[in-house]
């Protein structure tokens, strides 16, 4: 297969043409359930955003197979340097929807203490899901640094660095792939080519025939995979992960997929995505694709699908209610964690803000006392 061809596993009839993913039924269903929970998370988050309960969300519809297939190739001792459209990976490895919803609300229980926009998650357990930032591509090279530490300590761990097609134009993409190839880093670069960087089509991002082909120039393997085929993504990323684990260096994986929704809840994709393109990809829905495979294995039928969808929605909806009932962070969280120890000038500013809030009577129950 050349770097330009695209690897798929699931056939239109649900068969896999002799390929053995070596996954138990429970593992297969865990992938399916996680995809459905991502979908439910999208639905609940959109509802909350439209109702004004949260400010923002990032929809994942269309890219669930890429997220879950890649996550399924990792061990919990591996690290993920995610983009903001990757939280299915966290769900797959056991991050609780309640912890994620705390972030969506930016409340006192949020691991980021309400400092970030929604979907900018940060988790250390059950897997290292590195703190997400909004600038594009900065984490691609950081992943290589984290991998260097693993190499130096001779740990058998791997880093997955995930980004979109827009991310390939960033400084971090170039330095990340270049450093990783020179250092033979245990990193898998996952380019989720979802065709659109907000309103800019992939054709405006690169003149290359593909993203996978860029790997050749850096001196690493590149492979293009059907991003709507969870088994294909898992297969390709697993091979890259195992190569990296054995000291074989980095790989660039291009997952060819499509963002079925907007860039975010603040975006209206009907203004720029042609209807025909959407309709074409609608037929390649990654969940329906996987259902055909599971049905052929007698692991799925429409009734089970409906039950999992309902259970997923109920779980995420309940998580949102817990987060909604949690108070906002105290004013002191503006001033803590800038440095490990609060310096005198920030302490003074915090004390002044805190005193003013009390003086004006607008300090609410969540506000703790200074000094920190």
């Amino acid at each position: 297969m050349t770097v330009q061809e695209m690897l798929s596993v699931i056939e239109p009839d649900g068969g896999i043409n002799g390929y053995d993913p070596k996954m138990s039924n429970e593992e297969l269903l865990h992938c399916y359930r996680t995809m459905m929970r991502v979908r439910a998370f999208d639905d609940v988050a959109l509802k909350l955003q439209r109702a004004g309960r949260i400010g923002f969300s990032i929809p994942n519809r269309g890219v669930e197979a890429t997220q879950i297939g890649a996550a399924a190739a990792l061990k919990k001792t591996d690290w993920i340097f995610p983009s903001y459209r990757d939280f299915g990976m966290a769900l797959y490895h056991g991050v609780s929807p309640v912890d994620m919803m705390h972030n969506m609300y930016g409340n006192a229980a949020d691991s980021a203490k309400g400092r970030q926009m929604p979907v900018h998650f940060s988790f250390r357990t059950p897997i290292q899901f590195f703190s997400i930032s909004s600038p594009i591509g900065t984490h691609i090279i950081q992943a290589v640094g984290a991998a260097y530490a693993m190499q130096l300590r001779k740990e058998p761990h791997v880093v997955l660095s995930s980004f979109g097609d827009g991310g390939t134009s960033s400084l971090g993409f170039h330095s990340g792939l270049n450093f990783a190839a020179v250092w033979k880093s245990p990193v898998v670069f996952l380019c989720q080519n979802n065709q659109w960087a907000i309103s800019c089509p992939s054709s405006q991002q690169t003149a290359s025939e593909s993203y996978a082909i860029k790997a050749s120039a850096y001196g690493m393997p590149g492979i293009k995979v059907d991003g709507n085929d969870v088994l294909a993504v898992r297969r390709v990323v697993s091979e890259a992960v195992e190569r990296a684990r054995k000291g074989g260096g980095p790989t660039l994986v291009e997952a060819y997929t499509f963002r079925m929704g907007g860039h975010s809840t603040s975006d209206d994709p009907t203004r720029y995505v042609p209807k025909e393109e959407l309709a074409k990809w609608e037929k390649k829905d990654p969940v329906a694709n996987f259902e055909r495979f599971l049905a052929k294995k007698k692991l799925w039928d429409p009734a089970l699908g409906a039950k999992i969808a309902a259970d997923s929605f109920a779980e995420i909806d309940a998580a949102a209610k817990v987060a909604e009932a949690t108070p906002r962070p105290g004013i002191e969280t503006i001033f803590s964690d800038v440095y490990r120890d609060v310096p005198q000038h920030i302490r003074r500013q915090g004390q002044a803000a805190f005193d003013l809030a009390h003086r004006k009577g607008d300090a609410s129950a969540g506000d703790g006392a200074f000094p920190l």
Partner: protein, 324 residues
């Protein structure tokens, strides 16, 4: 004790850190077998091996970005940017990432790391080997900005920076690398960050300065003393977080203040010193605060000695605030 130049003190500090802490790594452009363009890292690859002191691809964004990942995963990177003028491709990594990681992750991930870089004029480096960019970085919560001016402080502040739990930008005055020597203790010692150094006692005029401007101000203070004006010369050493109380106290001691830096004046660090004094000690001021700085122009090559504040300009400002 050894009598070392500032660059030898930096080199000694790096060696001490690498000997005492196996997680300390040094990397950057030409820092490996060559030992750096100024020889700050001379001998490190030989003593500690290529996995702990090594050359990277020519990418400042890559150097700092990789350092962040290393720091987040248990290492203590001390990376070098060859000239501070070349740091700007890494500005995003420093400002958006290293400085904000602890805050944005609620303390779950941190970036304890040091970025060493030579700054400032005095070597005929023109626009791109001479700049003093400290103000860009001092506007960044989460970052620490340290500038030594003596060999003793260079080693002590560097070791304190390497042990610090937060990212530190360590700006080395390249003009002083080899122009002065000083006593430097052997082994490990630290100079606390965010503490001022009184370089000279005096009761008439307070001169605030840092880095390569410290010896310039000391020379001007000597000339002022000959004219009967005793200057209190304060070496700020750590610009962020600044010892504001120390600055206010030093300003109150004389009521007359000169602030000196070689960076351009507009929005420069001297503006912050002036504002802190104005906000907290204006009733003690006997004269307007004077700033002696680089001009609000790019850094020139042939005429750099006209651009950089010298003892003549500093003395002029001292006399002005004294006679006001």
């Amino acid at each position: 004790m050894a009598n070392l130049t500032l660059i030898q003190a930096v080199n000694d500090g790096l060696k001490v850190a690498m000997r005492t802490d196996p997680t300390v790594l040094v990397f950057g452009e030409d820092v490996g077998p060559k030992g750096g363009v100024f020889l700050a890292t001379e001998g490190l690859t030989k003593e500690f091996g290529e996995s702990r002191c090594f050359d990277t691809p020519l990418s400042e964004d890559g150097i700092v970005g990789a350092a962040i990942g290393m720091a987040a995963n248990g290492l203590k990177p001390v990376c070098e940017i060859q000239f501070q003028d070349f740091i700007f491709p890494a500005f995003d990594q420093i400002v958006s990432e290293a400085a904000k990681l602890r805050y944005r992750s609620g303390g779950q991930y941190t970036a304890p790391m040091v970025i060493r870089t030579p700054y400032g004029g005095g070597i005929r480096g023109g626009l791109y080997h001479s700049q003093s960019g400290e103000a860009y970085f001092c506007h960044t919560p989460g970052l620490k900005v340290v500038i030594p001016s003596t060999p003793y402080d260079a080693k002590g502040l560097l070791l304190a920076s390497i042990d610090d739990p937060d990212p530190v930008l360590f700006l080395e005055p390249k003009a002083l690398y080899r122009t002065l020597k000083g006593e430097v203790p052997e082994g490990k010692y630290k100079v606390d960050l965010s503490t001022l150094r009184t370089a000279r006692e005096g009761k008439n005029v307070t001169v605030f300065c840092y880095g390569a401007m410290v010896p310039v101000c000391m020379k001007a203070a000597e000339q002022a003393a000959e004219k009967g004006i005793e200057c209190l010369v304060v070496d700020l050493r750590t610009l962020l977080p600044l010892d504001e109380e120390g600055v206010i106290e030093a300003a109150k001691q004389t009521g007359r203040v000169v602030v000196v830096h070689e960076a351009p004046r507009f929005c420069g660090f001297g503006g912050e010193i002036s504002a802190i004094i104005a906000e907290n000690a204006i009733e003690y001021m006997e004269a307007p605060i004077a700033r002696v700085t680089g001009f609000d122009t790019p850094f020139p090559n042939t005429l750099e000695h006209h651009y950089m504040p010298d003892d003549r300009r500093v003395l002029d400002a001292i006399e002005h605030v004294w006679s006001y």
